[in-house]
């Protein structure tokens, strides 16, 4: 494997205290980086603002799919229960009278609308979230670092990814060094 080539994947800066991490995060945020992240052993209050994170779009996705679920339930039940038109050429439709109510009675559909709305909303939330955070993935170059294990113990990290449009080997390094990390390393990944 002599001709194995490597390219820069990310810079990993290590800090000892949450305060050092937060002030460093604000510097990185103000420098305009987008593809970067903070890694802490526990959830830290106020990191949303320190990192300049935008509100998540997951709510919009959930809402849209929830409403699609509600609409699907209405259309499905009205088509199968209420009308005799033959949209799909599969027969004449089945107007049903259940419990003495007229075919397609709206109130009896509400529980189904609710259930299907919740179901699609739940799926959209789960899979939408997985899509946004790009899971599942098998590996990430950040795990090349031995020191990164400290992120689950007592160390605080900032990683800036090489695919960020502002990423530059020299300038990014200078920026991170100016935030006084206890350790700074460039992690490389293999080019396939």
């Amino acid at each position: 494997m002599a001709n194995e080539t490597k390219k820069p994947a990310l810079y990993l800066a290590e800090y000892d205290t949450p305060n050092a991490l937060a002030s460093a995060a604000m510097r990185v945020r103000d420098a305009g980086y987008k593809s970067w992240d903070c890694h802490t052993p526990y959830p830290m209050h106020g990191m949303d603002e320190a990192m300049g994170l935008q509100p998540t779009r997951i709510g919009v996705i959930s809402f849209i799919f929830g409403m699609i679920g509600v609409a699907t339930a209405v259309v499905m039940m009205q088509y199968t229960n209420a009308f005799s038109f033959d949209l799909l050429k599969i027969g004449a439709g089945y107007p049903l009278i259940v419990g003495g109510k007229p075919p397609g009675a709206f109130p009896s559909m509400v529980p189904i609308m609710f259930e299907l709305g919740i179901l699609l909303c739940g799926f959209a939330t789960l899979f939408g979230l997985l899509g946004i955070i790009k899971l599942p993935r098998h590996n990430h170059p950040i795990f090349e670092s031995d020191r990164f294990e400290g992120a689950t113990d007592d160390k605080f990290f900032i990683s800036i990814e090489a695919d960020d449009s502002k990423f530059d080997l020299e300038r990014t390094k200078a920026l991170l060094e100016s935030t006084n990390p206890t350790h700074l390393e460039l992690i490389e990944e293999e080019v396939l």
């Binding site: 959830p43 209050h45 106020g46 949303d48 509100p55 709510g59 809402f63 419990g99 003495g100 109510k101 109130p107 009896s108 509400v110 529980p111």
Partner: protein
């Protein structure tokens, strides 16, 4: 931060909140006069019940909001807890305001419970009309019971039709001397309807009703004043032992609260339609109370926030949290209200459907649709997004709106029993009177206490409550 910590979070001697109690008091006087002058004698009882119960739901919701926070030992709501605490401290005012109501019912001046009152007054009422049926029932052999059940259905159908035919005879019934003539059916139907009521006289009788009413009101006053008193004492001595005591008493208080609220809803609202029953009714009232108090807490809190009275103790983050709960309880109200309606609609049993039948007449039907769209669809769509809830102006408008809808909700529970749909000056006057007296007390109380529970050991945590998601 330090500057805010030095503040004592008080209303002070001038500004809006120093004199805020004057306006409700004036409204109370105006409303009281309006109600007394304009109300026909058979309307005043309904109007007063509507007003009293609407105001009571604010107090009960406040009690719930305070108790649940101690129950869960939460810190997010500490800074805004003083608002529901002060509102619940109006429980004795509700008790005093309920005295004319109870006296009116006892003396027969308020005749909205006439249906079961007269049934309980003459235990064997049915016997006067149809001897044989009443006799067989009291023997209570199985066969007679089956027959009784079948006939009961017939009576309820007739009763539902009676509502459908128009309200003339129902409205006139107050003016009638005897109760029986109000429902113009055959003697047998009337007798059977009275038998349903006769079966309930063990619970629904004037003595038991008034005794229970006093018990509910006294229980609420005791819990509210105890919690308010401990919280006030903690303002002075900053002693965490008060918090521990309130936490350890919260579970039993909540159980007592839930039971008393449910049975108060049964006694005061459900028994208006004496033959009707719904086990979820108390939960609907509870959900409405929670909606009302969350909206009221946000509105009062916003007013403090805009005038800088609470410093940075109450922030948009706290309003966002309260708004989320408001949204949740709007959905919960819908869920339980629909559950009740769905089951009754689906079963289609006349003795259950009669309650909705009455509330689905012309005029009232419009109010029912207004509740569906105004109490659910609109707040659901207009409060669902985080952007909407964090827009304080928007949140304020929505809170006014859901409080209005909550009032309409209680109105729709009570007033259809009085006849066809018409908003009478007496209804508005009664609401202004009871609401005015209650909120005059509450607003006056705001001027006497710190607007944030300054002695609470969790206060600093709540002050640093940040958005974590």
């Amino acid at each position: 931060m330090t500057e805010a910590n030095n503040k004592d979070y008080r209303v002070g001697n001038d500004g809006f909140w120093a004199r805020a109690w004057v306006t409700p008091l004036v409204l109370a006087v105006v409303g009281g006069l309006l109600a007394v002058v304009t109300a026909p004698p058979d309307r005043l009882g309904y109007a007063y019940l509507f007003a009293l119960f609407t105001v009571a739901t604010f107090m009960l919701g406040a009690l719930f909001l305070v108790l649940i926070q101690f129950m869960t030992a939460s810190h997010w709501g500490v800074t805004s807890r003083r608002i529901p605490e002060v509102i619940m401290s109006g429980a004795p005012v509700v008790l005093i305001l309920a005295v004319p109501f109870i006296v009116g019912v006892l003396s027969g001046k308020f005749d909205m419970y006439d249906e079961w009152q007269s049934a309980s007054a003459h235990g064997d009422h049915g016997a006067a009309h149809d001897d044989s049926d009443s006799e067989t029932d009291s023997v209570s052999d199985e066969e007679a019971h089956e027959e009784h059940g079948a006939l009961q259905l017939g009576a309820s159908v007739a009763r539902a039709q009676d509502h459908g035919d128009g309200h003339d005879d129902h409205a006139a019934h107050g003016a009638e001397t005897g109760h029986d003539e109000g429902h113009a059916h055959t003697a047998q139907e009337t007798a059977l309807h009275h038998e349903i009521l006769a079966d309930k006289t063990g619970y629904l009788n004037t003595k038991g009703w008034s005794a229970r009413a006093l018990v509910y009101l006294i229980i609420w006053s005791i819990i509210a004043l105890a919690y308010f008193g401990w919280s006030r004492r903690q303002d002075e001595d900053h002693d965490p032992k008060h918090t521990l005591r309130m936490q350890s008493l919260a579970p039993v208080s909540l159980i007592v609260f839930a039971g008393s609220l449910t049975f108060a809803a049964f006694d005061w609202l459900m028994s208006l339609e004496a033959a009707w029953f719904s086990t979820i009714f108390g939960v609907i009232i509870f959900a409405g109370s929670a909606v009302a108090i969350l909206a009221a807490t946000i509105l009062v809190g916003l007013s403090f926030y805009k005038r800088g009275l609470t410093g940075d103790a109450i922030t948009p983050v706290h309003f966002h949290d309260l708004g989320k709960l408001l949204f949740g309880f709007v959905c919960f109200w819908t869920y339980v209200s629909f559950s009740q309606w769905m089951l009754i609609w689906y079963a289609g049993i006349p003795e259950e459907a009669t309650w909705y039948h009455l509330r689905w007449q012309e005029g009232w039907k419009f109010i029912a649709y207004l509740l569906i769209f105004g109490h659910f669809v609109a707040p659901f769509l207009l409060l669902i997004s985080r952007v909407q809830k964090l827009n304080l102006r928007w949140l304020q408008v929505m809170c006014f709106w859901v409080i209005l809808m909550h009032i309409v909700d209680i109105y729709w529970f009570v007033l259809p029993q009085a006849g066809g749909f018409s908003i009478q000056p007496a209804d508005v006057g009664a609401l202004l009177f009871v609401g005015g007296v209650f909120f005059a007390y509450v607003f006056w109380q705001f001027g006497r206490v710190p607007l944030v529970p300054v002695g609470d050991p969790r206060l600093s945590k709540s002050l640093h409550h940040h958005q974590t998601h």
